[in-house]
Symmetry: C2
Subunit: 332 residues, 2 copies
DNA sequence: ACCCTGTTTTGAAACGATTCAATTATGAAT
DNA sequence: ATTCATAATTGAATCGTTTCAAAACAGGGT
């Protein structure tokens, strides 16, 4: 159907080897020949078949980025960072979204293995380290983003979530809040767990303060709204006077539910801190205090680590940890 | 390095053809043999090489989705719709983001051509129809999303942006606003142009009302904020009393700038209508009136159209147009 | 025994690039 | 003229699958 390297060779009066060289090592070919072959390529509309290229050459230019919630702007920013870095490095990034399904997560990993991608950037949802180990043995390195390796087996780029949780909670305590609720989940997601852990450790400095945990099924706006409504239904005396939300989406959902009702003031009755500092936190109904993570920089860093690991498979895992930053706005 | 179909064949005591059949047409192979081969595959950790598969079989299972702003939740929703549909159809979607760069847009199209993807879903940024035509001739169909084909050459899934613009503007007029500003850009993006067109046509019913256009460089929160500040700097008498923003991101940016200043009330002094009805519109500082598009459904529909076109290349282009819906909230 | 009809299985021939050892051209130096 | 070193070109072998015509097998029915 479409022209192959052989057709080009025939038409240009050279051998297939020369055509391939024009494509991949133009320096080895005389300038005249390069020009002639390129003209023929244009005339015939030849387009190199990447499957054949990859089969023979053995290396892919594609890097996969696997996240569990592409709707979260935090991941969109992270992806952009990775993509920008990839473009300058000559790689291509494909983004896949598992929508918080372990099944999909594994099935995408299978796919990437069949495709022999050059490497994987993953913000894991389930317990995939064993699978990633197998991939590594197979020759496909992974970098964990927004999470550290459980057993030091992988390089990672993350933010100190324990510190973040602690900063957020300290801030609330400092504002004289004493009945704090942590809203987020599921709790087996490490990011969520660590943020909670940080919150707990901050609580220790204030023995008379209490922390309750309201677990959600996902860290989404919808779940936040759900919890918000359940807070409205609560007896006023029992209500917390502050909330630390596991991420901004949950925080925004809470805000929607609480503020829409009109009889709960933020931060008057309840102060709220979110996490991620997404763009929309600024323009929220009550501009949201949040913990900022350098999302694009994280994506960029992860890609660079991966690049090194891909070209030098014997490397020791490295761990880059960024520090989170408290951004104070009206919600506290 | 890794086991091939030949290794499996050898180890299992069958021919390579049989191994391939176990993989692709298990019905043709006796149950015993299937079981034996599958065990060997597991033992050897064989993973099919997709490049080889695609080279020989000639067809790819991959569909590309190319958008110009992955940070816009509208596109994230659209992508999710397409992904979900793809999974059930046995396809895989890879998402690529051009960040509003024509150069990147073309370079991704080149890449997809080399990869012989099964088809392309694209929300075009620049004038890519000629390029898409070439791809079609080459055997790669495209579906336009969120935009119709200029010359009827391609199937498309879109929302009637002219109607949307008109609905939004009528709503403002009905609220007795007479000095309306359209904020968005660049104006050569068809979506923006059409929304403006709709606004203009709605204006005709109110000759004494005026429409000014404040063009932005991109439809982002940042640009919205920039325009917002320039409005603040304006003489109060000259200020518009209503804004129709080309999308919700711009509207949220405007809100941030206007409301933060404190001396402009929304909707008191200026009413605002956005476009897309993203999740965050609800939880905005002033919940945003917006024009809703069925984003996930659009993605799903686009994928289905593509699937049909991929298996039957002679099809006439079809055009699916959804109707936009006005969602009224506090900002008007 | 033999024929016939399905089922299974086989294995060589693609697919379209890249690679690399071998060959040929080029031209400067003697 | 001849030699030699270097540059440019060749083309067969290879990557790991799938395909498909042909061969082998199984098991009734006569």
């Amino acid at each position: 159907m479409s022209a192959s390297v052989k057709d080009v060779a025939l038409q240009a009066g050279v051998s297939v080897g020369t055509v391939s060289n024009v494509l991949n090592h133009p320096g080895r070919v005389s300038p005249d020949t390069v020009k002639r072959v390129q003209k023929t390529i244009a005339d015939l509309g030849f387009v190199r078949n990447d499957a054949a290229r990859q089969l023979r050459a053995g290396d892919s230019r594609t890097i996969a980025l696997l996240v569990f919630d592409a709707a979260n702007p935090f991941f969109a920013d992270l992806a952009r960072g990775a993509e920008d870095a990839a473009t300058t490095e000559g790689y291509q990034v494909i983004v896949a979204n598992t929508s918080e399904s372990l099944e999909r997560e594994l099935s995408y990993l299978d796919l990437f293995e069949e495709q022999r991608v050059r490497g994987i950037l993953i913000s894991p949802y389930g317990d995939v380290e064993p699978r990633l180990h197998a991939l590594k043995k197979f020759g496909i390195p992974s970098i964990l983003v927004d999470r550290v390796s459980e057993n030091q087996g992988f390089s990672s780029v993350s933010v100190d979530d324990v510190a973040g949780g602690s900063i957020a909670t300290e801030h609330l305590l400092q504002k004289n809040r004493r009945k704090i609720a942590f809203v987020g989940g599921p709790l087996d997601i490490p990011q969520v767990r660590d943020r909670l852990l940080g919150a707990r450790s901050a609580m220790e400095s204030q023995p008379e303060a209490s922390l309750i945990v309201l677990e959600t099924l996902a860290t989404t706006v919808l779940e936040g709204r759900r919890v918000g409504h359940s807070l409205l239904a609560m007896d006023e005396a029992d209500r917390p006077d502050a909330i630390f939300a596991a991420n901004d989406l949950v925080a925004l959902g809470l805000l929607q539910a609480l503020v829409a009702a009109g009889d709960i003031a933020v931060p008057g009755d309840i102060a709220i801190v979110g996490y991620d500092d997404i763009d929309f936190a600024t323009s929220a109904i009550v501009p949201l205090t949040s913990i900022r993570q350098p999302s694009a920089l994280m994506g960029e860093t992860a890609l660079k680590l991966l690049k090194e690991e891909a070209s030098n498979s014997g490397m020791k895992p490295r761990k880059v940890v960024f520090q989170p930053e408290l951004i104070i706005r009206s919600s506290t």
